[in-house]
Symmetry: C2
């Protein structure tokens, strides 16, 4: 585990911290589609992502979903950090977008390391900031953009995090992530195809020039 750690976090954490993480952390490998965290669940640990992509979703009372953002290598989940404080139930759902490897840290270490390691403090703050900025971007999208623009952004973002210009999803799955309906998404995708920006196939979409 220590070398996995060093790959992803070696140049930002000092030696002592790396050693402590290696000691108390547990390594996990999860397949694409695996649910890492459910809304309302108690949070057991804090994840450090080594490889792969995790998608973070929000759900309303009627079960409607919305994709908030992706976590990538070197990221952690700030939402998890909130557990240390007041409320300890998750507000979000986390699902592995790709196969992923991560290290779980017991929550009680957070406080301790924040006092002890400067690099940990920086990491935690930076995580919070990244998450706040991603939330702002999400708000910008849903508040200021129309569905056609949101769809283009969705396809671009997805291609980027997966490093793959082929989007392997059905229209229905995309509709869930964008909190829209399948018919609407099919319609807009067809329009993008007619503009020559994508190619539609069964179960996947080829991005040509977005």
């Amino acid at each position: 585990m220590i070398q996995e750690l060093r790959e992803s976090y070696g140049n930002q954490f000092e030696e002592g911290l790396l050693a402590e993480i290696a000691q108390v952390g547990t390594f996990r490998e999860v397949p694409a589609g695996h649910k890492l965290m459910e809304i309302g669940e108690y949070i057991k640990g804090m994840p450090l992502l080594i490889s792969g992509v995790i998608k973070i979703l929000r759900e309303d009372s009627e079960g409607d979903e919305l994709l908030l953002y992706y976590l990538e290598q070197g990221d952690t989940c700030s939402m998890t950090m909130s557990c240390c404080m007041g409320q300890s139930r998750s507000e979000i759902r986390a699902i592995a977008e790709t196969d992923a490897r991560l290290i779980m840290i017991p929550i009680r270490k957070m406080e301790e390391w924040t006092a002890k390691y400067r690099s940990w403090r920086n990491f935690v703050f930076e995580s919070y900031n990244n998450r706040l900025n991603e939330m702002l971007q999400t708000i910008d999208s849903i508040a200021f953009m129309n569905m056609d623009e949101r769809l283009v952004k969705y396809l671009k973002d997805k291609a980027r995090v997966n490093e793959d210009n082929t989007i392997r999803n059905t229209h229905q799955e995309i509709a869930y992530d964008l909190h829209s309906s399948r018919v609407v998404i099919s319609r807009l995708l067809k329009k993008l195809e007619q503009m020559g920006k994508i190619e539609l196939h069964r179960n996947y979409i080829q991005i040509l020039d977005l």
Copy 2:
């Protein structure tokens, strides 16, 4: 200033920290409507709110606004904290919703106190969490609610933070906050009036039973 501090933060900060804040902080009093922070501006300090309410707005490239959330007594602006790290320009606009009193802390103290004072660490984390949760609520509103529901929530929130069941705003101002148009807001308000939930007047709205 020290007694203002003690009123709002006395039971959560230890003596040493209170003394340091009193030493390096500067007291400010601003009138309702005063702009405390503009998008793109460099951040000079971190505000600790003593009394009053601050509203936090987001703006897109075309100048369209959206109210994100309110800061109340005992709150601080997490967005400001991001300045310590990477990017140091504000992503949001802050405007005094009511007359407000606050203490500005030089940014460089943040890192120092985070290492030194446990209560400061807790405060900072709690602030981040509050802000993240407020952002989630904002996302819930714009993603999952229709404009009529959002308007009701807006009126309720506003009445709560101002401790006043009279909303002293024009329809146009409400439309800006909700990123909608004046005509739409007038229409929905009229419907609420017909349901007996509010009373409409020139320049103010009386909440009856929302």
